[in-house]
Symmetry: C2
Subunit: 107 residues, 2 copies
Amino acid sequence: MSDEQTKNTVFIGQKPVTAYVMACVTQFSTLTAGEEIVLKARGRAISRCVDVAEVLTRRFLEGTAEIIDIQISTENLEGRDGRKTNVSAIEITLRKKSPPAMSSKNE
Amino acid sequence: MSDEQTKNTVFIGQKPVTAYVMACVTQFSTLTAGEEIVLKARGRAISRCVDVAEVLTRRFLEGTAEIIDIQISTENLEGRDGRKTNVSAIEITLRKKSPPAMSSKNE
């Protein structure tokens, strides 16, 4: 299991950006270098999903997390009235970087 | 100029999705294979930008346009009150495909 790429998914919904940022920071702390988290969102939450990815990589996990893939797609959902609607979706994959080589400071 | 990658940019704002879809279909008709259109959006319009890209590639320009790149970023904007705010942005690059080889049907 250790050599398998573990994919952790965080679904971005209607909560504030900071709620998802904190959830990801916590989850990232349990990952080893090379492991990934996938942020997923649909519809209007797509903008918030991009916000979360940007806040993470530019502030809270700067130097620790990098965006390695962004995919968009269309999902066919059935509403409560039985009608089907298309909704756009996004998946942003973040990977934990290797820690910076501390030895270079000691040389 | 003909061998230069011409980049046409469409800014996605508050209009309905169909307005941008139609603008892109029109612009795509003027492109030759390999040329690109870049869809750009900021903030809440990011979701709409993804909608436009999906509607184009899955319906109106299916088989003609393909998504070749998606980039997200943060822009530092100054509001009317002089305060600076960060806003997320997206850029989706669509490329015109080569027309399908019609000769295969005649073989």
